[in-house]
Symmetry: C2
Amino acid sequence: MRSLLLVTVAAAVLGAAPAKKPTPGDIISGAPASAWRTIDADDLMVMNLATGGRIVVQLAPDFAPVHVANVKALARGNYWDGAAIYRVQDNYVAQWGLNESDRPWPAGVTVKPPAEYTRALKGLAIKPLGYPDAYSPGVGFWQGWPVAYNAMAGSANLTHCYGTVGVGRDLAPDTGTGGELYAIIGQPPRALDRNIAVIGRVVEGIEKLSVLPRGPAPMGFYPDKTHYVPITRIRIASDIPAADRPTFEYLDTDSPAFARFLQLKANRNDDFYRVPAGGVDICSVNVPVRKKTT
Amino acid sequence: MRSLLLVTVAAAVLGAAPAKKPTPGDIISGAPASAWRTIDADDLMVMNLATGGRIVVQLAPDFAPVHVANVKALARGNYWDGAAIYRVQDNYVAQWGLNESDRPWPAGVTVKPPAEYTRALKGLAIKPLGYPDAYSPGVGFWQGWPVAYNAMAGSANLTHCYGTVGVGRDLAPDTGTGGELYAIIGQPPRALDRNIAVIGRVVEGIEKLSVLPRGPAPMGFYPDKTHYVPITRIRIASDIPAADRPTFEYLDTDSPAFARFLQLKANRNDDFYRVPAGGVDICSVNVPVRKKTT
């Protein structure tokens, strides 16, 4: 610390501007290439809207393997031809699919998947967040995902944050197939954790969903099909020709760059922030994910 | 408990449907009139958009008295004539005002207000939430408001939740006048707590803000004034003729009904929710506020 202080004093003596305090954004832009991990093209779902927007979802096969396999089979079986966004509830969800269709399931779809609401904690080397959580005895990160866990129960689950994508279902024991999906567009509805299958998160285009008109019927449904937002197509990125395929990468949550990013997120103290919070919640960390341009 | 169990057994024996488990919504609709508190018309700011929408903000004079007095003086001095929404950043804020105008301040405006980022804890009988918070040693409710507090420091502040309204400012020590306001339209940016003056919360029409197109410039600004969303007028409800004046009430956070509501929010266990969370965060409680129809 002393040498840093001396540098500051020297700069002050010389009249130079003091070093700007780094922001979380500075850490992202300064992170070395080695701190980024490419997302497998087989784990990206690409959804195009008739209005021109594109939404890309990173799938989480390590947390809901059967539901994620279903999503891939549904995409590859063209199940979602003619699908639409048919529900948008303010501060909650945008939901899409066929909405009570009797279209046959494509090959490879498990019609009654198990309740993949949690998975075994074993096998996940979770980096703890380090701040308390109102919903779970433990929260942290694993391979870029925000995770809640319970060491006593030996279980873990993805947390419902802004942009989280899950599987619509009726009342339990139905777990949904993956044919109807929702994305969170408001405050994290963490009470859904462990009650529904989470299959991933939006890594591009969440704002194409969050701006949609809220549905006037109960729970945000569009009562009139003319208000549906048509989906042109849903594909898995690995099925798209390489030249047109979007590629994304996330900041390795085990990297020193992420540790520094997390420390700054919990202690904003720069030109604007004068009182560091001294903590951050699991959803507000927003693990950096970006489009890979090279 | 035993008598309740007997009733259930009897119902089962008789073949009647078991009693439906109550939801938080059931508690709201069943709360007695005595559990509701009317919001003073002098503490409601009514904002009309040229697009037809109306936004109503409950002001919090107990937390930022000078800034709230400014907002009332600005409204009454017609300062916001020609104002607009000029910034909408996804998962963060919608912001409105005159945006770098040199219009003179109306009478009664304190041009350099004190930093009302916190207030004394003394005088607030806070009902604790009862679950941990990542940002503050204590969180709870006072007269319907979500509050963070620090007993050691003797300070308290309103928390940044979905719908919270605060005062835009430049870098400290500037605290803003109240001429530029923002509302939260995404995950609670709790790091802003204690760094900015909070003057209230949206009690009607937040979805008129959350659906607006996100600004394409950095921080969500609309670079082109033709994209601004014009504001027709901003008034304090007590200045509106009684017949046209909207009236709102909140569920008394010291009432038994609120205690039951809170308990259910933290332990959803009904036809849809099978695994109660066992906790809830301060922002997700969403203290019930409704339009008064009588």
